[in-house]
């Protein structure tokens, strides 16, 4: 049983990313989209938390939402995977449940 967690808010606006990383089970997938993409960037105050989570969770970021915010792939924390909307749909199919941290 795997769950896809979706985060659509910046970690500097809400604590949804931090809560998700604290509570999501090992092996779960997390998708950062909308303002949530800021959580995928290197060098921020949450970067260490995100890097640590990558050891036992898969983290994805929505490419179109990165592009809309001028976030280049080179600015992403190593190990985070970029997907498009097709990939977003595939993630919801691959995982048994989708949990939106809204």
């Amino acid at each position: 049983m795997s769950t896809l967690h979706t985060i659509n808010k910046s970690p500097f606006d809400r604590a949804s990313l931090q809560s998700c990383l604290r509570l999501a089970a090992d092996g779960n997938a997390i998708l950062l989209f909308e303002d949530g993409v800021y959580g995928a960037m290197k060098g921020s105050t949450v970067a260490e938390l995100v890097e640590k989570a990558l050891s036992n969770k898969t983290i994805y970021v929505l490419g179109p939402d990165m592009k809309a915010r001028g976030v280049d792939e080179s600015k992403l924390i190593d190990g985070i995977k970029v997907v498009d909307y097709k990939g977003f749909v595939e993630l919801t199919v691959e995982n048994d449940k989708v949990n939106a941290w809204v």
Partner: protein
Amino acid sequence: MKFGIQVNEGPYTHEASVSALNFVKAALEAGHEIFRVFFYHDGVNNGTRYTTPPQDDINIVNAWSELAEKHNIDLVVCVAAAQRRGIVDEGEQERNGKDGNNIAPGFRISGLGQLIEAGIQSERLVVFGD
């Protein structure tokens, strides 16, 4: 696969309506079925045909109506959330003695049971919102 979609945020607020639209389009392109889109909380504001954004802006309400017509998607607006926010169809107009209605084409007003049913009938329920 059968999807249920829940939209909790109005159009032109942050991004949830557009994200949901993009997700629904991508799911349909991949051959999946959209069982229902349920508009809850401020999401009901996606369902008024009086929405008139500037011409160079995306008309989110029309985008939902067009998508619903093209793919026969059930767009359901929560009745209690709609009443609070002045989203009215013919039935609600009559029931509440209002002087008009504003429901957009392809949308219908119904109860929370429709969300529960979408959760039961769909293999995945994907939530977009604030």
